[in-house]
Amino acid sequence: MSAEVAEKEFNIDTVDNAAASPDVELPWAELGLKQNEFEEIVKILGRRPTAAELAMYSVMWSEHCSYKSTKNHLRQFGQKVTEEMKKDLMVGIGENAGVTDLGDGWAVTFKIESHNSPSFVEPYQGAATGIGGIVRDIISMGARPVAVMDPLRFGAIDHPDSQRVVHGVVSGIGGYGNSLGLPNIGGETVFDPIYQGNPLVNALAVGTLRHEDLRLANASGVGNKVVLFGARTGGDGIGGASVLASESFDDTKPSKRPAVQVGDPFAEKVLIECCLELFKNSLVEGIQDLGAAGISCATSELASNGEGGMRVELTDVLLRDPTLTPGEILMSESQERMMAVVTPENVAAFEAVMAKWNVEYSWLGEVTDDDRLIITWNGEVIVDVDPKTVAHDGPVYDRPYARPEWQDALQADTFRGSVNAAILPSTGDELKAAVLELIASPNMCSKNWITDQYDRYVGGNTALSSPDDAGVVRVDEESGLGVAIATDANGRYTYLDPYAGAQLALAESYRNVATSGAVPAAVSDCLNYGSPEDSDVMWQLAEGIRGLSDACMELGVPVTGGNVSLYNQTGDKAIHPTPVVATLGKFDDVARRTPSGWRPDADGQAIYLLGETYDELDGSEFANLRGHLGGLPPKVDLAKERLLGELLINASRDGMIDAAHDLSEGGLAAALNEMVLRYGVGARVALDDLCERDGIDAFTALFSESQARAVVAVPRSEEVRFNDMVGARGYAVTRLGVVDAESGALEVQGQFTATIDELREAHEGTLPKYFG
């Protein structure tokens, strides 16, 4: 290997060379560093960086890896926590993914991450490698991945480019996730022109582990070996780094490096099994996945989190493309790779596992007793740094932010104020037409066309998945112990009020989890925003983080990890602030989960609406259908959300309800439709009591998006108990009607009747119509 490499004609920039040639011009600007950042690197090192060091610092100090614009704000997630919230938290923010105790020796880890811009450039591979990356984060905690989810945001449904993006992203998520044997248990699909040039592809993975299998990314134990295994390293994802091609910085030889990464799901599947076997036999001390910033990230994080340092020989990396230079190897984002630390005694056993799974590996170096990360190339030192300065001491900025000048005008522009009341539906026929229009609209229509392309069965532990409120997976087959997860965000709400919008995202995902019957326990978030260098956007971001962290504290659910994705904009136009919040809930036994609709055998059960309905149409799906966006989002009331959650969980525990669906986008109209279509069983409801109690009309009752509400189906035998429970807690409740298995229709008494066939045709026809 080394002989072959030695023939390469790189101008190897060693540490000695760097010290001796302080005035060499370095392409730090091309690599994305700012002048002050470059000067900081020189100060840290006491000399100019070598080409390889420059490569490492530039990727590790990028916004993506260093969180330099958000670090000062993200701290709130760690500060606004009570002892109670920390109780079950085994690993918090900062590691690859947070870990929460589930009881009985089980733990769960989950995380959500973005792969937005790669998915716009090459939708299939971008989305596929998004799934691949987040799954490796989960493996690196010592867990077996057990499910994935995919919150998505696309441009306008009828924009020509949406064909390319939607087809590519959906088949990419399916193509990768399905091949890994991970059920897809939910997600989101939103269409809005604001995402046209910048779709959002977020991916979530969840894994389970026994407490004793927990692994962290650190390199400890002097003399322990460092190994890189999985796929070979190619030039993937370093298109922008081509300035390093010759490492002599004369850009006369532009190298041809693929800017997109191509995923190999089979390699990842094998990597999962192989890692689980390593964990089971306790063969690794520390482990780290390779994602953004590749080997730069893995070596510097392992070394800085451990006790000692690390020494690595870079020519020992197995390459797919032998022309790669040291800097490029350090920056490469080739997929399906892992790095681990192994004791010398375990080397042979480690190699046996690799042989069994036919996985390639190479020993790169070992843990040392000083605090340096030293990387050599054929024995010559090309990197000699304090790994903490690479991994943790990146620049931190207090970016200026201010409430945008236009925010007041936006909030003053209410829906009621802007539309002529005469055009609002009021007769039964008009209301029916509006309901059919709503449930067929791009955002509210059935997502079956997408979710039918995802395997939801594999593993045999999926207890709920799309279209239910939360995905539910069983963790322990014996006890039924399990988890529920839901992801939510409403970019329009957050645009209208960044603070409240982020809280509403949490409120909805919390509510979804509770609706399924699980006890909300932890949060992961993916903050998708525009450029932090724009003070308007920075304000949205600051408000979003403040809002979310305050709300987590109030609901008692800690943020265990997440991801920030910035610069989501087309030209100067930022996307709506989109803080996607994933809430994870615990189940003592998933057998008692509550589905989001009633079955035929629920005939005659009573249908109740929990919560109060106000005139809240600003930012709603109905307003969106009329092309309006302004005013204030629905009011946040976290105390009520908590109470509603308790009611839904208790009702599930005590067998008081057979179905439950929370109200969110599209309000009561959407919820009733979805509950009827869930198992194709009709209902008769009346809105009169509700309208009278809350002082609203039928239109508002159907389309308002007031929070902290849910519809439930209660068996006749449980009605007294149910009402007692709700009454005792003083929660607003009204009986809407009954499940009617005979009628084959949704009847809103005195207003309209829509047959199940009509509803289904409207709800399920939209995506196939656009996407085939």
Partner: protein
């Protein structure tokens, strides 16, 4: 397979069917091996893990080749897997006088056609998309090793999930399959992938080798099958156990 951390482990229920040992083959890209093993156990049998690279059938009484993407299946589904050492053993045993019962599910079915244990082949779904849904099948032949616990003509609901599920064969082969009663399952209500003559599953002439695209192993436990209630897939596993116990093997 079973030597890996299963999500929970539970012991084999003791019924009169226990004792029969059903092998479940794992290739590196196999996905549904745990589910297939669960199906075997829930039916009362003992699931035995068979590794693709091994040559020892470990004396199993029947074999399930579960779904997944054997070796990635980038070339053709099942194309590379068919050459695995374990497959050589299985092919021999299936063709031997003992007529080892073999069930190929989805990718397993594709492997069986590549191995020429079953005729025809699978190409991409006519709509070109991966599809996952609950599917109704009609049991056209209830005399095979894997279907004897169903009634003739019985309609069952089990999940379907695949990308390359369109069954193709030339007309002569199709006519032969029909004439010999070797069309074991047909899609009902909707042909989800364009398969010739709505064929969802077939058998070899002796009836010991059966392949189908839909997934019985995902419909063995109430709460986790079609519509969260269905357990129609269990019949596949009780069928083979019944045949083995009945001594007809």
């Amino acid at each position: 397979m079973t030597d890996l951390p299963l999500i929970g482990d539970y012991s084999t229920p003791t019924t009169e069917l226990s004792g029969a040992r059903i092998g479940v083959v794992t290739f590196p890209g196999t996905l549904d091996d745990r589910d297939a093993a669960r199906g075997v156990r829930m039916a009362g049998g003992e699931a035995v893990a068979l590794w693709h690279a091994d040559e020892d059938l470990q004396g199993v009484d029947a074999v399930v080749i579960p779904g997944g993407f054997s070796y990635g299946d980038y070339l053709r589904a099942g194309a590379i897997a068919r050459f695995a050492p374990m497959m050589d053993r299985i092919i021999d045993a299936a063709n031997s006088d003992a007529k080892l019962p073999v069930l190929g599910i989805c990718n397993g079915f594709q492997i069986l056609t590549e191995a020429h244990l079953l005729p025809g082949s699978m190409v991409k779904n006519d709509h070109l998309k991966f599809i996952c849904r609950d599917q109704i099948l009609r049991v056209e032949n209830n005399t095979t090793a894997w279907t004897n616990q169903f009634a003739a003509g019985q309609e069952i609901s089990i999940p379907l999930k695949n990308q390359d599920g369109q069954y193709v064969a030339d007309e002569k082969v199709l006519d032969e399959l029909e004439a010999e009663g070797r069309v074991v399952f047909r899609y009902v209500g909707w042909n989800p992938n364009g398969s010739r003559r709505d064929i969802a599953g077939i058998s070899n002439a002796a009836g010991n080798v059966v392949g189908l695209m839909p997934h019985p192993e995902h419909a063995v436990e109430a709460g986790y099958g079609p519509d969260h209630t269905g357990t129609d897939g269990l019949g596949f596993f009780t069928s083979v156990l019944t045949q083995l116990v009945g001594g007809t093997k």
